[in-house]
Amino acid sequence: MLDSLATSMHRKPRLRLAALLTAPVLWLVVAYLGALATLLVTAFFTIDSFTGNVVKKFNLENFYDMFTDAAYKNVVLRTLGIAISVTVICSIMAIPMAFYMAKIAKPKSQKLLVALVLTPLWASYLVKIYAWRTMLEPNTGVVDWLLGSLGIHSPGFGGPAIIIGLSYLWLPYMILPIFAGLERLPNNLLDASGDLGAHNFYTFRKIILPLIFPSLVAGSMFTFSLSLGDYITAQILGGKLQMLGSVVYQNFSINLPFAATISMIPVTIMAIYLYLVRRTGALASM
């Protein structure tokens, strides 16, 4: 029985392919693209002003509100600023760290370092963010106490606190791809560069950076997109500051169509970002 099934499968490659791909394609189309399409359609609906029920009639009111109200322009710019800062901070911290792990550390400590970079990912997101909340607490937090000896105060809750929290959360996602990229980089390229008289920084700029650029882009896609959609960190560390995710969170229970409209913004930003990344050719060499 099984034998005959195997034989018929072997003879009909199309059937084989279909059997293999049906489940993943269904998942991709129904759960993934389907959800995205529903989101897009919902963005054009509206709600009954009294009962809050969704009225399924096509109109552009949500988009009109989004583009005319300056508040939403501000929140988009603020969120972009935060996502870019987080990405830049993560890159600046990740490159030396990954370089040490890949090129300088002994094999034994290298494994330990990789494990150490991964361990924060085992703890719950909320625990980590609430820990930062306690540390950044104005006047009573440990950060305030540390900085107090220098005569400065803790930034308290707000934009800087969100950037600190998100940079901490997403740092491993930046370190790991760069580490992988640096591991593939042959040591003799660095030696050759040194032999030809290049300074360390020149070697970094002309040899290392171009070669690990695809890894950097891979890491930035994580840090950037994860920051762009975040609302929990903003809620806990942001004080009264809101990010795009907060707007969606705030509206989805009251005005689902408007929340859908707002959530088209990060989708669009990411689409543009991925398009630019593709133009650089970084995706092909990943």
Partner: protein
């Protein structure tokens, strides 16, 4: 290539089919303006074994917060209905939860109840099946927010005022007016807090009602455009003073404790919880009066466990349970017989359960509609959906 094109065609076709399916289903939400016709339950049957409850934090306590605070375990043992509770963070949240159809019962405030009734999300209640309804204070029954055209939609739960919380060790002298949270030169700038919901616009309107009589506000949920703009302008003035807006009551209690928030609007239960953690904090009803709530237990129109739902509502309105909630949450009970059962014999006096004069300047949360709720017919009022937009805009600017 041929295959690739075939695949993308299939993908496009299935997405299109999905969208069409999404559009065609659920065209039953029509009920534009009218009252949906929903049958009330006629006879109580056997319990279904569970009941899913949407409630304000502190309304359904099974001893897990404080072992001494428990009016759920006994009910579960007696009826066999296991109580699954989901705490709502705001009225908007509760309305959204009830629209999912997964819950049987809700403790709705006045700014949610009418939306639920007209949205067809709750059913009229048969008060013959909830004998404890008879003991509810008469002036809580058949009010604007819990009945329509003489049909009751729920059993009153209790009422309270939103209070002004302040840290007694930091805020000196003690505040007496809401003005302290709207004062642009406040010494407590950066540590003032406010409730994070569009309904908070009414708090600004209430303050304007007392301080700027020329605006002509008589009811904080009936604001014409000029009055509404004035309230928003006041909230814009307040925004730089705010450290955090609060939606999550536990985070709010933590902020009161840490000193991140020292002054601002709160509920009595937050004061009680903060005091329980040795925080020096007090809550008062300021001289301008206050916004407040009068909650109603309602049954979902799509309840999967209607019998347990009715049993729960009858239980929570019983003198014992009602006294327990009222005392734990810090509110006035709805059942007149509760007053004899509270652990603190003065509870009903402290919370003015039967003191009608106290409630005269407490404006229970209500849903603003285009037809002004204060009876004016010469102007249109700003409906609640616009409140939500304005609040979202204020918070994100």
């Amino acid at each position: 290539m041929q295959k690739k094109r075939l695949f993308s065609r299939i993908a496009v076709a299935s997405v299109a089919a999905l969208i069409l399916a999404g559009c065609s289903s659920g065209s039953d939400s029509a009920s534009e303006g009218g009252l949906p016709d929903i049958e009330m339950m006629q006879e109580l049957g056997a319990g279904e074994g569970q009941v899913n409850v949407v409630a304000w934090a502190g309304y359904v306590e099974n001893g897990s917060t404080d072992p001494a605070v428990d009016w759920v375990t006994g009910f579960e043992a007696e009826t066999g209905c296991k109580v699954n509770v989901k705490n709502g963070t705001s009225s908007d949240d509760m309305v959204a939860l009830m629209k999912t159809g997964e819950y049987d019962v809700v403790s709705a405030s006045g700014d949610a109840s009418l939306r639920l009734i007209y949205g067809g999300d709750v059913a009229p209640i048969n008060t013959n099946l909830t004998p404890n309804y008879a003991d509810v204070f008469e002036n809580l029954k058949m009010q604007q927010w819990n009945s329509v055209d003489g049909v009751a939609y729920g059993v009153p739960h209790g009422r309270g005022a939103n209070l002004l919380a302040y840290r007694t060790d930091i805020v000196k002298p003690a505040p007496t007016s809401w003005g302290s949270v709207f004062d642009a030169d406040s010494p407590y700038k950066g540590t003032i807090t406010a409730y994070d919901s569009a309904i908070y616009i009414a708090d600004a309107a209430l303050y304007l009602m007392a301080t700027q009589p020329e605006l002509g506000i008589t009811y904080p949920y009936a604001l014409d455009q000029a009055q509404f703009d004035a309230a928003i302008a006041l909230l814009e003035v307040q925004k730089p003073l705010i450290g955090e807006y609060w939606g999550d009551y536990l985070k709010h209690v933590a902020s009161l404790k840490s000193g991140g928030s020292v002054l601002g609007t709160t509920w009595q239960i937050n004061i009680n919880l903060a005091k329980g953690e040795k925080t020096p904090v007090e809550g008062i009803k300021p001289i301008e009066g206050s916004t407040g709530w009068s909650d109603t237990w309602m049954v979902s129109s799509t309840a999967k466990n209607p019998n347990c739902a009715y049993m729960w509502i009858n239980h929570i309105a019983s003198p014992e349970a009602n006294a327990g909630v009222a005392e734990w949450f810090g509110e006035a009970p709805s059942n007149a017989k509760s007053c004899a059962l509270t652990a603190d014999p003065n509870h009903c006096t402290t919370f003015h359960a039967a003191d009608d004069a106290y409630w005269e300047d407490v404006y229970y949360w209500n849903t603003a509609t285009e037809a002004c709720l204060d009876g004016r017919t010469d102007v249109k009022c700003v409906p609640y959906s616009e409140w939500v937009k304005a609040w979202s805009s204020l918070r994100n600017s």
